[in-house]
């Protein structure tokens, strides 16, 4: 075990473990330290400089995300001077982006840049000049790439490298003329991108968004967010279901989901709208004269009960077989086996794990 050490943050003595950064320690003890280039899943990067703190004995403030905590350090996170510089930095960032409405904030949830703007009570009215990159017209079906709103924190590039290891995108150019591109600047579908969408949900601005969600959110009504679990493979990623007036409009990852920690794949991220499919079954059906015909629940239940009773009574319990779903919720499979065992009186039940 690493030994426990102590340092001072904003006048209070706090313990930390070797290897922790000043940002981690400061946030843990409740100090407000703003960031834009930071994502705890990524290596510290130190580019937005919003997390600067004053370090006793140093002439210049230091970026706390890259500063390793050391025993005896004396840190001040929120002096008036630091707050003023942070506020200026937020204004500078706002000036890079266009002034129109941010679709990400409107349709999916307030982006980090605009959260900070609210926190510092600043808006986009100083330092105005040229704005960021031109957006890219990318023909993929899922990912909106509106780099007019890019603030070049490179979290998208870094999550693609460090977490996904797909290395699909990169930072290009330099200085003001920087950008985000795939190798040779083609579309995402021509690159190593798997369209997992991880970049969207680390992006602190509206530069990246889910095309499906951005299209739907402008409809009136309140978006509800409900935590659930992805219905695809057996990994069990936590997801947030976004719904509007009782209809699914999108999925976002749960950043503290125990399995996925905010990661999703292309299916989990974008493959939710089968539930809205036009060909969903909406009525019980009974085959009448060879045709499947809509009926009431009551009729369907009565008919099924009667047919199954006669199979059981005429041919014995083993003439019935039930196959439970490996995809539907567990209450259903429990009920089906209980039905088989307690009503049909056999163990003739299985699930689809064999094929």
């Amino acid at each position: 075990m690493s030994t426990e050490m102590k340092m001072v943050i904003d006048g209070a003595e706090v313990s930390f473990q070797e290897g922790e950064t000043v940002l981690e320690v400061a946030r843990r003890q409740g100090s407000f330290v703003p960031t834009l280039c930071y994502d705890e899943r990524l290596d510290p990067y130190g580019s937005c400089r919003l997390c600067v703190v004053e370090v006793e004995g140093r002439r210049l403030p230091a970026s706390s995300c890259t500063l390793k905590a050391e025993a005896g350090m004396d840190i001040r996170t929120g002096s008036d001077h630091i707050r003023k510089m942070q506020s200026t930095l937020v204004e500078m960032v706002l000036s890079e982006n266009p002034g129109d409405e941010c679709p990400r904030c409107r349709d999916i949830g307030t982006c980090e840049v605009h959260e900070l703007a609210e926190e510092f009570e600043v808006s986009r009215d100083r330092f105005l000049g040229a704005i960021s990159n031109a957006s890219k017209d990318d023909s993929n079906p899922f990912l909106l790439r509106d780099y007019d709103r890019c603030i070049s924190c490179y979290r998208c590039v870094r999550i693609c490298d460090e977490v996904e290891a797909d290395h699909a995108i990169t930072m290009t150019g330099r200085g003001w003329n920087k950008g985000i591109a795939t190798a040779f600047d083609g579309g995402l579908m021509d690159s190593d991108c798997t369209l997992c969408g991880q970049c969207i949900y680390t992006c602190p601005t509206g530069a990246l968004a889910d095309k499906k969600m951005v299209n739907q959110g402008s409809k009136p009504g309140e978006i509800e967010i409900t935590r659930s679990v992805c219905p695809y493979c057996g990994t069990g990623c936590s997801i947030n279901l976004h719904s509007l007036d009782g209809k699914m409009i999108g999925v976002t990852p749960v950043l503290d989901g125990p399995v996925n920690e905010g990661a999703l794949c292309v299916k989990g991220q974008f493959g939710f709208d089968f539930v809205n499919s036009e060909d969903r079954l909406t009525r019980p059906l009974i085959r009448k004269n060879g045709e499947l015909t809509p009926v009431s629940w009551n009729e369907a239940f009565e008919y099924t009960a009667q047919k199954l009773s006669s199979v059981r009574d005429d041919h014995g319990p083993k003439a019935f077989y039930a196959i439970a779903s490996g995809r539907a919720p567990g209450e259903g499979s429990y009920m089906l086996q209980k039905f088989t065992r307690a009503v049909m009186n056999s163990n003739q039940v299985d699930n689809c794990s064999r094929g």
Binding site: W297, Y321, G330, S333, V343, R354
Partner: protein
């Protein structure tokens, strides 16, 4: 899985066998890639040059179905090199000496002869596995969907047991489950041999427990497996079936046989969200609510019981599965309790009857932090199984022999066909196929074939071909790629309307689990002219110009 998913990133060595993880379990693959980034070794055992090999220290491209020969050879290397964990073996396993003797003929040269993996690479991989502080084995259906699936798994267990890589953090033997709640379906007792919580149906104590709980006598005999049930349907022993949320017709091997089985039934109930090919054969179809429209739980690969919640309204009359089944039950019995007001009551009943779920309720599964067994309400869950000791005493080392696949290439059927999924198409595509945009990523089915094989057959990228096995034939386009090794071709089963892949797959099963050998069939391939009406002019691979009817 014996261990939890987050632990993977702290493994020192990962042996990934028959698992196309980046496509089928992308977020588990994220942990594997993270471990690699931290310096872990990764060995990939797979006939195909799957994307995971790009991150690997070594790729062992074994011949289809040669797993036992390969892993026995690795076990022999470990024992011969003195890398076995003797303390662990003595304390926790039995049969070490017998195994050592049994492995004598399984030299790396023999391993190479059977598996085609260079002897040097077999040795390197064995040493890397045995020398690592914590080495985890991860596998999927590439191991189990064989007639020797059980032996394959046991040969991996032997490796873990002789090296002590079972029962501590970041090691273990870890099957990755292919479907979101396949673990939960087994947990809840949807098995012919087990009540909920894997309590055996032929154990009198368990029988008595459930008789008392439900108030009716229990059948003391095991049921048959689903695979056997389809045979029993054909021969008339089974008259009625109730299939929930499975497109059996498409996803089982040998479609002709499955069709015959379902058509032979007197009465078929299908409960689904869509009118699947299976549902089209039904006498009654129940409209099921989607996972977004109900409260309930899924249990994932690492035994994590997680809450799902209703976020949207089901269309029309669609209802939760449990509700539908309970209503039919109520009409058939007065003796058994089927009055539930909500899914939570169903869960509580399950927890009361299943010791591994006994400490769970909807509050405790709120955030998905708990892996079963959770025997008490204050129990912290069990992310790592077999810590300290095995449930059933000592781990028995198995003496296994190599059994070739039931079908092998011959003059008439000169190629191996293996099947699996592709990243953007899930299973039979009932979900991804109805979600906007996925058709653009994968417009069609295609057969993956090595360039040398394609050249021999006169096939060019995008050509049409007929794939024929002893059971039937399908027509599809070909994509030339070195992902497939020479002599082995690959298809998915995501486009059943156009290419019913499981017409050609092999229904031979493992005698113990009755899991079919989806992973190996012998086929012939010939070039054919583009058929009319099958979208012959459509793009082969991802293309933004494909029209996707589901994209709003």
């Amino acid at each position: 899985m014996s261990n939890s998913i987050p632990e993977i990133e702290d493994a020192d060595m990962m042996l990934c066998v028959g698992t196309n993880m980046t496509e089928c379990h992308p977020i588990i693959a994220v942990r594997v890639k993270k471990a690699v980034r931290k310096g872990a070794k990764l060995y990939v055992v797979d006939p195909r040059k799957i994307p995971l090999t790009e991150y690997a220290t070594g790729h062992l491209p074994l011949k289809l179905g040669s797993d036992v020969a390969l892993f026995n050879a690795m076990a022999k290397v470990i024992i011969d090199e003195g890398l076995a964990d003797m303390e662990y073996s003595e304390e926790r396993t039995e049969g070490f000496e017998e195994l050592k003797k049994h492995l004598e003929p399984f030299t790396i040269e023999y391993g190479e002869e059977i598996s085609g993996v260079p002897a040097k690479l077999i040795r390197e991989c064995a040493i890397a596995y045995a020398s690592a502080e914590s080495a985890g084995i991860y596998y999927t259906l590439g191991i189990t969907e064989h007639i020797c699936g059980v032996s394959n798994v046991q040969s991996l267990c032997n490796l873990a047991l002789i090296t002590g890589n079972l029962g501590k953090r970041s090691d273990g033997v870890n099957p990755l489950r292919g479907q979101n709640n396949i673990q939960g379906a087994g947990d809840t007792g949807a098995l012919p041999n087990n009540y909920p919580g894997f309590q055996s149906v032929d154990d009198p104590v368990s029988q008595a427990k459930f008789e008392k709980a439900w108030g009716v006598p229990m059948d003391p005999h095991k049921g048959i497996t689903k695979i056997a049930a389809l045979d029993h349907a054909v021969d008339g022993r089974i008259k009625a079936m109730w299939i929930c949320g499975e497109n059996t017709l498409v996803t089982d091997p040998d479609v002709k046989h499955t069709t015959k089985a379902l058509e032979s039934l007197d009465f078929l109930v299908v409960q689904d969200m869509f009118l699947t090919d299976t549902a089209k054969l039904a006498d009654v179809v129940f409209p099921a609510a989607a996972f977004t429209e109900v409260d309930g739980f899924f249990t994932n690969s690492d035994r994590r019981v997680q809450r799902i919640r209703k976020a949207a309204n089901p269309p029309g009359d669609a209802m939760p599965d449990w509700w539908i089944i309970a209503h039919v039950a109520k009409r058939m019995t007065n003796d058994v309790h089927f009055d539930y007001e909500n899914s939570e009551q169903v869960f509580d009943e399950l927890a009361s009857l299943s010791p591994i779920y006994a400490g769970l309720n909807y509050d405790r599964i709120e955030r998905g932090d708990l892996a079963w067994p959770v025997p008490e309400l204050d129990h912290p869950g069990t992310p790592i199984l077999h810590e300290g000791e095995f449930l059933n005493g000592k781990g028995k080392l198995q003496l296994l022999n190599y059994v070739p696949p039931s079908e092998n290439p011959d003059e008439e059927y000169p190629f191996y066909l293996t099947t699996g999924r592709r990243l953007p198409t899930y299973h039979s595509n009932t979900m991804t196929g109805r979600s906007g945009g996925f058709r653009i990523l994968v417009p069609n089915e295609w057969l993956e074939i090595h360039p040398a094989d394609a050249e021999k057959l006169g096939l060019e990228d995008g050509d049409w071909s007929k794939i024929k096995s002893r059971r039937g034939e399908v027509i599809t386009r070909v994509a030339i790629t070195k992902t497939s090794p020479r002599g082995t071709v690959f298809m998915s089963f995501a486009f059943p309307e156009e290419v019913m892949t499981n017409i050609v797959t092999n229904p031979e099963v493992d005698p113990k689990t009755e899991t079919p050998e989806f992973k190996v069939a012998a086929v012939s391939i010939v070039r054919v002219e583009a058929p009319t009406g099958l979208g012959a002019s459509e793009p082969l691979r991802a293309n933004p110009d494909v029209e996707d009817p589901h994209l709003g």
